[in-house]
Every structure is written in structure tokens, then in C-alpha cells.
Symmetry: C2
Subunit: 684 residues, 2 copies
């Protein structure tokens, strides 16, 4: 304990930097940084271990600013402690191509752990980071080798506290007894609509208690540095529960408008900027000024952190001598590389093999690879028996006291919490030692859309196992049958949406998903059985699209995915027998990967001169990119046995043939250009 003038100066420096940066940007959120500066100062300078020179040191304490709009708080700290965030970077706050965007983006800025701003996400990422720490520690720590011992700290505001995703994540964290997770609730009573009294009057700490969290309240977060420190100290001592500390603060502390909505999302006026500086002993005429004493204070802490990393590196080296295999595995996982030869475990299929649902094929993949890829950790949002995401002898990730598993367990019971699951996966992936997967119905990936979007933006390797992928789920009906979902996620940049047609394509989907270090995947899988197709191989399918069935002088190309590919193959026979029409079949299990192939290859698949028809029991939106004509489902499905539902919507060899004939007729005497030919390249 014991705080002096330099501490207060440091706190006020953070505040003034936030004022200057938002003023210069003429945009941004000064209020939260000004209110949270005391808390952040105590947290960073007294508790957190990190080395600004190596922001990726594994055993660093993690910090997540879930109220990401307050990012000037974090950017200021990163700069002051000596991360590669310069004072010019602060001056470029919210400018195009800066490393200081309007909300923190993990892939761009050293020291930013996860991409936050969309409310509730960071909080849920923090739960993922804490799970990752507990699991990794359990797997790798040995007596005398406390290799993995970091805490995860998270600050969240009223907005995050209102979001359902954070409720889901908090309930999970309480159940999981994550003693390594310490969250600070910035209780400033202000959200964009003004005083939270207008919409948010619940007792937040009582709610967290109900989830099983340890709770504390620091009543004067503006001044009571000792109180903040004591609460953090206490929270670290509580090992069997996550902790939340409500810190009551004044938003925009120091501004003329402090404590009001006026300082939340707008820069201070020029005269207020000056007044703040004067109040805090800064020259009102100067901007972006950092007193040397503040640099000295923070650099001292950074040096201590660097020394801790140095010690840790020595520990790791010694660990390598005593635990050679574990060490090799640990460093391999840190590099993000898969074990050599792992792909030999991927199952392959012959056309004579039995028809199997692709969700079951996915289960087979997991069962075959889990032993060779120990970093593969996942679960399901309470649909384990339907998603088939659990290999037979999996151990649950659970607090040992539950007797339902242990910390080394690799199967996570996410509960009916799709949105938190996806955000927790983002946190798991961000930790550095885990490749996470999570199961739900494809339709309910939509519940998780907010987090899935951030998987893409933050370029993490997560895998969503999305079963029951169409009207083929049958009786559950339109409430559960996705129609728009594939279009949605195909439109999301940097997201691989897979819809494999059979066993080989399912293996290919996992192959690409697991080897793509910076791209998340959604694998859409059928409930119903699918035949093993002639012409499908892993080698073909990893290209994202390929000619499954070639034919000379073809009249038409049928292009399809997943469960409809097999029906297209049947339609080829039907067309030949009944209509003397020759059709070829192209399977495109993943648009994103197919698009990345050479134009020459794509034109081989979808050549000029042959009309084409896409066949997929979903919205046709987007299929115009590949096919001249589209057979799809631009309406909701129906509840009934799946074969009846397919028949109702005419997704049968006959129904496909009808559209194929119409397409051939429409293009009679006309050699259409392949849709692969484009006038210009898209920006990427």
C-alpha cells in the first residue's frame, strides 16, 4: 500500500491523454478512461505481470477492457508502460490505418489481447482466457514448475452488464469456479441513454452472487486507491470462485460534465480540456504531455515484468530438461503448429462405405484426431448428443469438487449459451495454447452472431460444429431449420463456411479448419444420413470446390453442397435416363476456399459455355456468384419427417431435373459465360 503524488500524477496523465486523444480525433469516449484511471493504475502497477517488450509472453497476466469504447485507457497504459504504441499512435487515435482504432483490435495493436467494443464480448472472452489458463496449468504444471499461473483481469461497464452474452458467460464462470478470473465492474451509473436508472436498476452484485461469484464493492473508485488494492488482493486470494469488484466511479472525472452522459461518447470541449489539465496540474496549452516521472514509474514496473519473464524462461528451460515431451508439446502449441503427421488420422471413405450423417462423420473425425491434437478442446451448447461433439472417453472440463471432471478435461459443458460459447471460444483461442471448437445447431449459430463476427475480425482459429444444418433436420420444424444462415456467414469476411457432402469432405473441412491459423470456420453438418460419393476425396475437397462428376459435352453443370450433392448425383442419372440430358456435378463445400483457388482452376470447375444450376435447400442469395440459375428455398421450411419435407419442396432427383431442364431450355442456342469471369478484381 501507500500511494504518493507520482501515483496521482500517473492517474491524471492517463486521464489527460484520453482527453487529448479524443479531442484530437474529434471523436471517442473520454469518460470511461477518466473514471477508470485510478483502478487501472492500481491494477497495472501493483498486480499485473507483463513484459511490454514481449506482449506474447505466455504467462503474462491478461487484461481485457470489455467496455472497449474506453480504449484510450488501455492505449494510454500501453504507451506509458513501453509497449510498441508511440505517442504518435495516440495522436492518430481513430485515424485510418492507425494501430489505435476506435475500439481495440487484437490483431493490430501490441498488448491488446482480444477485440472488444461490441458490449459483453470482452467479458466473455475473459472467461475463455481464464478457462484456457486453468486447463493449460492443469496439463503442463508440475511440482516445482508453476509454468502457467497468470490471472485474467477484466473491466466491464453497465453496458456489458446488461448484455445477455455477459450473463451467460458469468453463469458459466460461476459454475466453473474460475478463481483465476477477476472482473471489475465500472459502476458509473451512466450509459448512452443517460442515468442507468432509466433501464438498469437490478442489483448487479447480488446477481453475480447468485451465479456463485465472490463479490466486493469499492465505494469511492475515484480516490480510494487503497480500497481498490485491498479488493484486488482479496480477489486473488479467493481461489474457488471468480471475483467481481464493483468500483463506483465518476465518469469523466475532472471534466465540467463529470458524472453525466455528456462525457460518455463525445470529446470534451476545448475549454473543458484546458480546465481538466489545469485541475490536474498540466499545462493547459500543451497536449500529449507525459511527465518523465510517470514514464519512470511505469517503466520500472515494466522492467520488473521483463525480469519475471526472464525467470520464467529459465524455468521453462529447466522444465524442458525434466519434462522433455511436455516441453516439446508446450512450445509446439505456443507456435500454433499441429503435430507432424496428424492428418494421417483423418478418416477417408470409399463409395461402398455406408451412408452416414455428416454430424456422425464429424464425430468420427474428432474421435480419430483428439489423441494426436491435445490442444483441441471443445464442447457443445447443451446439444452434446445431437451435435456428437464428444469423443467417447472424453473427460469434462469441470472443477474437481463437482466430481464431474477436472481442470485437465477437454470437454466443456457450455450450457444453453450459444453466444457466450462463441465468445469463450474466442478467448480460448486468444490464450495461445488451445484450438477450440463448439457445437450447436446451425440455426443457433445466429444466436452467437455477435461473437462469431469477432472470430473473423480478430482472426482466431475457432471451429463451430453446426449440425442439423437444413430442413433435413425434419420434425423440429421452421423454428429450427436454417434458411438464411449460410448466406449470412458466407457474407462475413474471413469466415470459412463448410458444408461437406460426405465423409471425405468432412475430413477436408477439418483439415482446412485446423491448419488455417488465422481463420475461423463453421462446419455445417447434416442430421440425416448421406452417401459416400464417387469422386470425392480429401485432396479435391480441400480446394473448396471441385468437379465431383465430369461428363463430356455436358448440357448443364449442377453445383451443390452438403446433403444435396448426393441428390444431384441421382438427378444426373434421372436426367440421362428420362430426358437424355447430360449433367456434370460440382461440389463447393466452402465458397471462401474455392474463391482462393486460381481462376484457371475455378474455370475448369465452372467452364464457359455450359449453363449451370445451383442446388441447395437454403436461401439462393449469393449462389448467383457461381451458377446461372438457382434452385433453393427462399421461404421457411416445414415440420415433418425429413424425407417428406424434402419432397414438399421438391428437392428430389425429379425436382432438380425439372429445374435443370428449364435451365437448359433457357440457355438453348446460347453459350453463357461462366460466372467465374469478372470485369474486375474485388478489393481485399
Amino acid at each position: 500500500m501507500g500511494y504518493s503524488d507520482v501515483d496521482r500524477l500517473a492517474i491524471n496523465t492517463i486521464r489527460v491523454l484520453a482527453v487529448d486523444a479524443t479531442f484530437t480525433a474529434n471523436s471517442g469516449h473520454p469518460g470511461a478512461p477518466m473514471g477508470l484511471a485510478p483502478t487501472a493504475h492500481v491494477l497495472f502497477n501493483k498486480f499485473m505481470d507483463f513484459n511490454p517488450k514481449n506482449p506474447k509472453w505466455l504467462n503474462r497476466d491478461r487484461f481485457v477492457l470489455s467496455n472497449g469504447h474506453g480504449c484510450m485507457l488501455h492505449y494510454a497504459l500501453l504507451h506509458l508502460f513501453g509497449y510498441a504504441v508511440s505517442i504518435d499512435d495516440l495522436k492518430n487515435f481513430r485515424k485510418v490505418d492507425s494501430i489505435t482504432p476506435g475500439h481495440p483490435e487484437a490483431h493490430d495493436t501490441p498488448g491488446i489481447e482480444v477485440t472488444t467494443g461490441p458490449l459483453g464480448q470482452g467479458f466473455s472472452n475473459a472467461v475463455g482466457l481464464a478457462i484456457a489458463q486453468a486447463h493449460t496449468a492443469s496439463v503442463f504444471n508440475k511440482p516445482g514448475f508453476d509454468l502457467v499461473s497468470n490471472y485474467t483481469y477484466c473491466i466491464f461497464g453497465d453496458g456489458c452488464a446488461m448484455e445477455g452474452i455477459a450473463s451467460e458467460a458469468a453463469s458459466s464462470a460461476g459454475h466453473l469456479q474460475l478463481g483465476n478470473l477477476i472482473c471489475i465492474y465500472d459502476d458509473n451509473h451512466i450509459s448512452i441513454d443517460g442515468d442507468t436508472a432509466c433501464a438498469f436498476t437490478e442489483d448487479v452484485l447480488k446477481r453475480f452472487e447468485a451465479y456463485g461469484w465472490h463479490t466486493q464493492w469499492v465505494e469511492d473508485g475515484d480516490h480510494d486507491l487503497e480500497g481498490i488494492e485491498a479488493a484486488l488482493e482479496k480477489a486473488r486470494e479467493v481461489k474457488d470462485k471468480p471475483s467481481v469488484i464493483k468500483v463506483t466511479t465518476t465518469i469523466g472525472f475532472g471534466s465540467k460534465l463529470q458524472g453525466t452522459g455528456g462525457v460518455h461518447g463525445n470529446p470534451l470541449k476545448a475549454d473543458d480540456c484546458q480546465a481538466v489539465k489545469q485541475k490536474f496540474g498540466f499545462d493547459p496549452e500543451q497536449s500529449f504531455v507525459v511527465p518523465q516521472g510517470v514514464y519512470n514509474l511505469y517503466h520500472k514496473r515494466a522492467t520488473e515484468g521483463a525480469a519475471k519473464e526472464q525467470e520464467w524462461n529459465q524455468l521453462l528451460e529447466k522444465y524442458g530438461q525434466e519434462y522433455k515431451n511436455e516441453h516439446a508439446d508446450f512450445t509446439r502449441r505456443l507456435a500454433g503448429d499441429l503435430p507432424e503427421g496428424w492428418e494421417k488420422n483423418l478418416p477417408t471413405y470409399k463409395p461402398s462405405d455406408p451412408a452416414v450423417a455428416s454430424r456422425k462423420l464429424s464425430e468420427t473425425v474428432l474421435t480419430k484426431i483428439y489423441q494426436v491434437i491435445p490442444e483441441l478442446i471443445g464442447g457443445s451448447a447443451d446439444l452434446t448428443g445431437s451435435n456428437l461433439t464428444r469423443w467417447k472417453d472424453a473427460v469434462d472440463f469441470q472443477p474437481p469438487s463437482t466430481k464431474l471432471g477436472d481442470w485437465s478435461g477437454r470437454y466443456i459443458r457450455f450450457g444453453v449459451r450459444e453466444h457466450a460459447m462463441a465468445a469463450i471460444m474466442n478467448g480460448l483461442a486468444a490464450y495461445g495454447t488451445i484450438i477450440p471448437y463448439g457445437g450447436t445447431f446451425l440455426n443457433f449459430v445466429s444466436y452467437a452472431a455477435g461473437a462469431v463476427r469477432l472470430s473473423s475480425l480478430s482472426r482466431v482459429r475457432t471451429i463451430m460444429v453446426a449440425t442439423h444444418d437444413s430442413i433435413g433436420l425434419g420434425e423440429d420444424g421452421p423454428t429450427h431449420q436454417p434458411v438464411e444462415t449460410l448466406a449470412h456467414f458466407r457474407a462475413l469476411p474471413n469466415m470459412m463456411v463448410w458444408r461437406p457432402a460426405d465423409g471425405n469432405e468432412t475430413s477436408a473441412a477439418y483439415y482446412v479448419a485446423l491448419t488455417s491459423k488465422h481463420t475461423p470456420s463453421i462446419i455445417a453438418l447434416s442430421r440425416q444420413n448421406l452417401p459416400q460419393l464417387e469422386g470425392s476425396t480429401i485432396e479435391n475437397a480441400v480446394k473448396g470446390g471441385y468437379v465431383l462428376h465430369e461428363a463430356e459435352n455436358a448440357d448443364i453443370t449442377l453445383i451443390s453442397t452438403g446433403s444435396e450433392v448426393g441428390i444431384c448425383v441421382d438427378a444426373v442419372k434421372y436426367l440421362k435416363e428420362h430426358h437424355k440430358i447430360t449433367a456434370r456435378v460440382v461440389s463447393i463445400p466452402c465458397f471462401e476456399i474455392f474463391d482462393a483457388q486460381s481462376k484457371e482452376y475455378r474455370l475448369k470447375c465452372l467452364p464457359d459455355g455450359i449453363p449451370s444450376l445451383s442446388v441447395e435447400v437454403m436461401s439462393t442469395l449469393g449462389w448467383e456468384r457461381y451458377a446461372h440459375e438457382q434452385f433453393g428455398l427462399n421461404r421457411f421450411g416445414a415440420s415433418g419427417p425429413y424425407k417428406d419435407v424434402y419432397k414438399k419442396f421438391e428437392f428430389t432427383p425429379e425436382g432438380i431435373s425439372t429445374r435443370a431442364i428449364a435451365t437448359v431450355d433457357f440457355y438453348k442456342g446460347f453459350k453463357p459465360r461462366s460466372p467465374i469471369n469478372r470485369a474486375f478484381q474485388q478489393l481485399i
Copy 2:
């Protein structure tokens, strides 16, 4: 109080019907109906007022089964009480084109209030129904005329309790002190993954207490009918808080597998079906048997309900004599019709009018129409000042005790709870007297995707005011800039996605949204100013697409939406001046409405022989449907002042011209067929 054998017989009849229907369907969820039958019996037979012959009677008590997979409970009750749900309908459970689909769908089945199944939705709809009741009562009730006095009852399970959306809605309901809302938590300890101990160990009642709810616990929900009744009675007496009653039940009560996951999502085995029937005194060899005494009991209650409606109709008639205007308004609202001539209030604009952000144009529409459309009730998910969803002298919908508004207020402070907002809107719309709207950033409509999907499926008139609709929001950056969102919701059946280009188009969007009784809308609006365009009129824009700028012998058609239409108009000049290229411009503010126009009209807009280029700062997915070539943003945006961001991605007259020239070159010597021409019609 006082329950006799016939009550127990009725309860067991419900159970046996659920067993028979799921067995016959070979699919479905018998467990919840078997466990909940006692609760539902007490609720329906002792408390709820309804008339099965007129399921739309306004003052009926509302019932929502949020755990919609247990719908055989509700279907059985509807049949037994005499709704137009026959025993054959029960036999057709989960069959194609039945009125008894796998999850309840409001538009198909008499007596189903809202479409449930996706977990957490029904609970949140119930909050909407309760808000609607409180508001409608406050507006129309007069001394001696308690015209609107119904309760909303909702049953929800562990799954709903885990979903974030329900947490959001529960927090809102607590804040709003909705004493007319009574929720029953089916505490059966089972979800799909088995015992809830594996993922859900929080104290649910304590959590609801923290939200400000009144809480009770019935420990033996399998037998304690008196306890259930007493708790419901007590809950009705609590007028200043919503109530939750935890009823501990045995899932699948009566089955050999009762109390286990085995009865959750699978029919009972044949021998178990027989055993259940024997146990409950039914003939094990017969199915779908209803003892006459049960019909008698329930029909008596139904008759009482019909009499109550009769009384109410008389009250309404008398009300009409005393309060002529209110009565006229009330009946008009019930019919779903708008006041005559309301559309005269829609603002129109001339090209000489100043450039205005379309979010601001939306505010002007709301300001001009709120007085003539009193059923228009809405709010924002804590972005009021950004969404501009509040007219200046709006009164908040708030409990009077908060002194922040009153029950007659028409502005709802949803809090940072997008998903619950959308589901509450579905409930508001389902009540019958309200047209709801809600504001958030377009990017965060994705948080609400689960509920927005059900707006479409259940065919309700809801309006999502989705501002900050693109990279044009500028500094907030990629975390807030939608790219995939329009494609997502354009792929959703029965959803109108509007992206107006100026004032007249904004008025048109509201016109169509408000007059489409069975179709929800999302109106995407700009943060930045947009010019008033030459050629835009309400009459044009209500067609969903039109020729904004015609040109003879055009070399190219530019097709665009929203903020890019004005840039296309500038590009026309640029192309002419710099490249002697003649371009025409088509604005398509709403795909769904444009698609509904005649082919002739659409071909007039997008004629054969002229190559076309779409221009929209979003994913190009889906634009191939209208344009030969697409200029879009198939990547994430950037944080910076919006003009810099537009420039970075070349959405300028010059950038558009470059693509237009490439398109013209690509089609040189070739008269392309309009994409409007298709080989065959889509199923709808």
C-alpha cells in the same frame, strides 16, 4: 382449492396425449408435458380466462410456453378446452402441413400466441405482451371500464433460464415492475446434456430477486396442486413486481425413465407407453383417448371464459357510448388498420433541400407521424441519441414510481439489450394493439438475430430502426461497421430490409413498413448526411426499386442503395465528363419489395442489353441477382473519419468510374441479358 379425481384424470390425460403424440410422430419431447401437466392444469383451469371459440379476444389471459419443445402440453390443452385443434391434429403432430408443428408457430395454430422453441424467446415475448397490456390498459381503461386487465403467464425451463436473451428480458421486466407478468420456472434439473449440475448451478430465484422480481418456490410440482394454486394466487396479488414461481417437477413423470434425460427429447418406448397408461388408469392398448369427464371439466371452464368475453363485449359497447373516440381508436387498432390519411404526414423532399443523415430523416418521420399513429410505440437499445428514435416530447414507458414516465408512455428504454428488445417487440406486436419499433446500430441487429428471425417467421409488423449502417459510421471502426448484415437479413424470408438513399426513400420505407401487416422491416440508416436526390419520390421508392436517373443509349446501369446512390449520381457526371460514358442509375432500397413487382416493371429498371454494376459498401453477396458486376466491400472496414474510410475503399465517383469502365469494357460487343430474366420461378 380442493382437487378431486377428475383433476388428476385431466392431468394424466394431458400426459398420455403427449406420450401418444410423440410416439406416433416417432419424434418430439414427452418429458416436459408430463412434468408440467399439474402446473398447466391449475393455471388453465383455475386462473386463465379465455374463449376457445375466439382465440383473438383481446382481454384473454396470454399463455406462452417458452420451452416450446414441450408444445404437446399446449396442443393437448388447446384440444381439450375446445380450440380448433382436433384429435386428428394431435395425431398429425410433427407431420408436414399439420397445425401441430414440432415447435409452436403463432400464425398457424389457434391459441398459440407467439412462435417459440428457440430458447429464451417465449420468455422475452411474454415481457413484451405484459408491456403491451400495461400500456394499452393505461391508454384505454377508464373509471368503471377495466377494459384491458389480462395477465400474461409464461412457462420456461432450464434452457430458457440459461439463454442470455431471457436474462436481458428479466432484467427489463424487473426494472419495469410488470406486476401483470407471472412466469413459472420448470425446475426439472434436466437439459439435453443431462443433469443441469454439469453446467447450470446458479441460484435462479436469487438472480430473479436481484432483477427485482417476486419469487416463490413450489417444492413438489408433481403433486402439490394446492401449492401451485396458492403461489399463482399470491403472484396475482403482487402488483408492483413481475413474479417467478419455481416449480420443481419430475421430467417425464410416470415414465420408467422419469427424471432423466432419456425422456427429454425422445418418445417413450412402446412398453413404457403402455406402462404409463396403465399407471394412470388408461387402456394400454388404446391411443389418443380422452375421458368424457375431462372434456366436461375443461369445456365448463371454456364456457365460463366465453361468458366472460360476452360480458366484456357488452362493456366494450357501453364504453363506445361513453368514450366514442377512444372506442373508435381501440377497435381500429385491434383491426390492425392505420388511421385514414395518416400518410399525408410523411415528409417529402425536393433536391434543393439540404443534405441530412437518414437516421435524422427517420427521426423526422417519427416526429411527423407519432401523433396520428398512437399505436406506434418504440425505443432504443440504449442508443437513443444516436438512433434518433425519440420524438422531442415523448413520454417514457416507465413505472410511475420511478418518476421517469408512466404506463401510457410510448418510449421504451430497452437498455443495452438488443436481443431482448427484438423479442419484446415480437411480443408487443403479438398483443394486438401496438406497432413496435426499436433502434440499434445495424451491426448490432446481429445480436438480435435469433428474435429477428422469429419476427419474420411469425409474420409480425415490427420495425427495426438500424442506424450507423456502414463504414460511413467512421471512427468507431470495424467492430461496429456492418459488412455482412444486409446480406444476412436479405436472405431471411419475409423480412423487408430497407436502405433508403434520401428523405423520400426514408418516408417510403416507413410507408411500406407500417402498411405491411404481416411483414417485419429493418430500416438501415446512415450516420452521415445524404443529399436529396433528383428523381426520388415516395411513389417510386415504395416499389422497392426504380430508375432514379434515366439516360438514352446508356452504356451502363449503376445500381445502388442508401448512401452510395448519391455517389453514383456524382459518378454519372464523372463518367460523362472524363470518359464519355453514359450511365443510368437505379436505386433499390428494398430487394424484397422490388422482387414483388411485375417482371415487366423490373425489366424496365434493369433492361436487357445494358451491363450493370452494383455499388454498395457491403458484402457483394446477393448482388449478382440484379447486377452483372459488383463493387462492394468483401472485407472488414476501418476506423477513421468516414470520408477517409470511403476514400480508402475507393467509394468515390472516381472509384466507381474505374469499375464502371472495367464493366463496360468487359461487355464490349456483347449485349448481356438482364439478370431479371430467369429460367424458372422460385418456390414460395
